[in-house]
Symmetry: C2
Subunit: 216 residues, 2 copies
DNA sequence: GTTTGTGAAGGATTTCACAGCA
DNA sequence: TGCTGTGAAATCCTTCACAAAC
């Protein structure tokens, strides 16, 4: 599937989306192994750790290049770095949080984004009484300012923490302003154009699909 | 696929897991239509709302019975109720939260669980200095009390909000105590026996799989 | 006329199994 | 010998298309 190194001529078209979604899992597992001092790892070991088959890992990686050495396995640091670069995790991504209620504040305060290169650089709320308040050392802005701020601060990601009743309109607004990646905490299935990606964070849905298996 | 009504002899074995995971989506959409006053809906309309094909909806439902009327569609209330019952959402589910730091407190305070029938009935933390404190009108308990409390309060779901470094051991403990459904907020891919279900809530993973498509 | 429920077809993803390399 | 990378096979999931029901 193409020869070894050379900085990614990846056919994004042709990589199945499921594969892309597993890549971050590999990155995370590799980081753990790296900080445990492991230098080389086989698809077998990685698979055991992630509860998946070695074949799947090898096949997934094969979409992007050849990273291993026969008879040996993968260099942990190297593979992690290559995958980070493929995913675009070697640069910083700026995000805006829309909806500064209880949930929005928790998201702004969440310490897990920054170390992974995701930085919240603006906060917005439709409620004019909130506008101007300080949250996480940022001024809450009016939605009127969304378009200009998104461009000025190079914001590529929208994080939606408004109530379900307003989520679709906020998402429409983000789309209109050119945002192509949305993390949606509202419990709705939003409608977006095909070039916009949405990922839902929805603990209730997760619980509801587990109870099926719990019934007696 | 079996005749009409009769209270579910569902072959859980045979229903694909993806289908089970979509059911809560249907329930949610149906509830919305119901409260908008819609009484009957076709797979076409439901599909438009959820951005999926009508055929997929009909096929999914066909695993569980026959709920529609040809030429007409589905009775919104009836279908919602049937699906709730299939998923086990017609009863209450008790949950315990393990890890009462910033995130754990936010989860305990989250108002989205209770209305859907999920009730947090116990809180635990490994830090003995926290034990005894009140959080969400519950006493934070020691992990020593986990086994007994799980049985006394009929807890079927564990919600893990401890730091990544302790998540696997806490999950092991939950498994040992008989928990079969775990909602995991820690950024790890836990290893569990095959009869235990885990769902991860992990905004960072979601973001990391979107950046792949953002890299111009 | 409309829309369901479903076998059959088609497409996508996973797993197999092995040649080839270290 | 040990393990990768990968076509081919197997499995899983989605879509088609139409008979039956209203």
């Amino acid at each position: 599937m193409r020869s070894d190194n050379s900085p990614e001529p990846i056919d994004a078209e042709i990589v199945p989306e499921v594969v892309v979604q597993r890549l971050p899992l590999y990155v995370r597992a590799l980081s753990q192994f790296a900080s445990a001092g492991v230098e080389v790892i086989s698809s077998e070991q990685l698979g055991a750790h992630l509860q998946m088959t070695p074949a799947q890992i090898r096949k997934d990686l094969s979409y992007f290049g050849r990273f291993g050495k026969q008879g040996r396995g993968y260099d942990v640091d190297n593979l992690a770095e290559r995958l980070r670069s493929i995913l675009g995790l070697d640069s910083q991504w700026n995000a805006a949080v829309i909806g500064i209620g209880r949930l929005g504040r928790a998201v702004v305060a969440y310490p897990g984004f920054e170390p992974e290169g995701f930085r919240i650089v603006a906060t917005f709320d439709a409620d004019e009484r909130l506008v101007g308040h300080e949250v996480g050392s940022m001024r809450v802005q009016s939605l009127n300012e969304l378009a200009s701020t998104v461009h000025e601060r190079n914001i590529k990601i929208g994080i939606v923490t408004v109530p379900a009743s307003h989520a679709q309109e906020v998402i429409n607004l983000l789309v209109r302003v050119g945002i192509k990646a949305i993390l949606n905490y509202a419990p709705i299935a939003p409608v977006v154009p095909p070039d916009v990606r949405v990922r839902g964070v929805d603990p209730v849905l997760s619980l509801q699909s587990m109870t099926f298996y719990l019934k007696t």
